[in-house]
């Protein structure tokens, strides 16, 4: 299932397409309909999908045991779909490599009073390019916003009824485990890690459950900034054995958390907090 997410500003039509992974990535070459072949500059997907207003409505049975309508009406194919509640309000617009499976998924996870019927437009091609699907989603969204002045509730940022909350990246590990003899010094592993990742926070505990108030504060600040960052748990003796002492020497800094940006230590909790208060962090992450 793939889900576009929608920036809040509906009226401005700034549709931010922050699409997570496509479930079946296909670098398949675009196959143009014959008549388009000679005009390569023609925008993609203009003719490929029905408009939202042109698509016909397909009921979704309320009982989960009742099967969905047949595959002609709801095909297991790539396309764009919009789910309506019983009152006929559009609740969510999504795109998928398998529209039928996605609708089935929604039916199971989303409250029944939000899923009464669905409109579907499938792609002409069997493996459309991701951009084609994105554009189809965008044009359905724009069509709906133009008609009603608002985005479907399920597409508003922060609504996790239809799409799950974004997964936090796991904590990075410096080594595979204590049983593995390192062939390079730990300093070198640290060095590589802080240079390969733009923002690194060495914290006590995991990102989802920091075990020290200072680490927790730093994770909170970084998440509030919306910056992409990775975390390393310095208390993980299995995978980061010896990291605490080595890192203190490497960075010439006695405590944790330690935040590196662009390979350089910025500081600990006090420094990050005071930079956040003064509004200096955004500039730091832009570099």
């Amino acid at each position: 299932m793939i889900h576009p997410s929608m920036a809040s500003a509906a009226a401005s039509l700034r549709l931010r397409l922050a699409l997570p992974e496509v479930s079946a990535p296909s670098p398949a070459a675009l196959r143009f309909p014959l008549r388009c072949r000679r005009r390569v500059s023609r925008p993609l997907a203009i003719t490929a999908f029905k408009k939202l207003s042109e698509a016909s409505s397909v009921p979704i049975p309320q009982e989960p045991t009742q099967p969905l309508v047949d595959e002609d009406a709801l095909p297991p194919k790539p396309g764009v779909y919009g789910v309506y509640d019983p009152a006929g309000e559009l609740q969510f617009v999504g795109i998928s490599r398998n529209v039928r499976a996605s609708v089935e998924g929604h039916r199971r996870k989303v409250p029944a009073d939000l899923c009464a019927s669905v409109k579907v437009a499938v792609a002409d091609e069997e493996t459309p390019d991701r951009t084609v699907l994105n554009n189809a989603w965008k044009s359905w969204m724009e069509e709906h916003i133009a008609a009603t002045g608002k985005a479907p509730p399920g597409n508003v940022a922060g609504n996790y009824t239809w799409v799950g909350a974004p997964q936090r990246p796991p904590d990075l590990r410096l080594t595979p485990g204590r049983h593995v003899q390192l062939t390079v010094p730990l300093e070198q592993l640290i060095n590589r890690l802080v240079k390969e990742n733009k923002v690194v926070a060495f914290i006590k505990g995991s990102r989802s459950a920091p075990q020290c108030g200072f680490s927790q504060r730093v994770v909170g600040i970084l998440e509030a900034q919306g910056v992409d960052f990775v975390t390393v748990d310095v208390l993980d003796e299995e995978h980061n054995h010896g990291l605490r002492e080595t890192l203190k020497t490497y960075s010439n800094w006695p405590t944790f958390p330690q935040i590196f940006v662009g390979g350089e230590l910025v500081g600990g909790c006090d420094i990050i907090s005071s930079m956040a208060e003064k509004g200096e962090l955004a500039a730091l992450f832009q570099k």
């Binding site: 800094w253 006695p254 405590t255």
Partner: protein, 94 residues
């Protein structure tokens, strides 16, 4: 146990000869957690990270027994008392 507010103050005073120093015991009595505000001429021209490092270095003999130090301010005198705001327009000297 064993590090007092006075120990912390003495360590910072001897290393940084601060013009302003406030040490607050935030541990609730066990002496393991302090908040520090310090203004020193030695901070002039140093980055925040460097200034914090200087405070940490000054405290390093005691760090083994202190659980948490929070450096609230580490400023050079010029930063601590910024130049007075320019006289508002229209305020003429007579």
């Amino acid at each position: 146990m064993g590090v007092t507010k006075e120990d912390v103050e003495a360590a910072i005073t001897s290393a940084l000869s601060p013009s302003h120093l406030v040490v607050t015991d935030t541990s609730g009595g066990c002496g393991a957690s302090y908040e520090i505000e310090v203004v020193s001429e030695k901070f002039e021209g140093k980055r925040l990270l460097e200034r914090h490092r200087m405070v940490n270095t000054a405290l390093s003999p005691h760090m083994a027994e202190i659980h948490a130090v929070s450096i609230k301010k580490a400023l050079a005198p010029a930063q601590a008392s910024p130049a007075p705001a320019p006289a508002p327009a229209g305020a003429r000297r007579r």
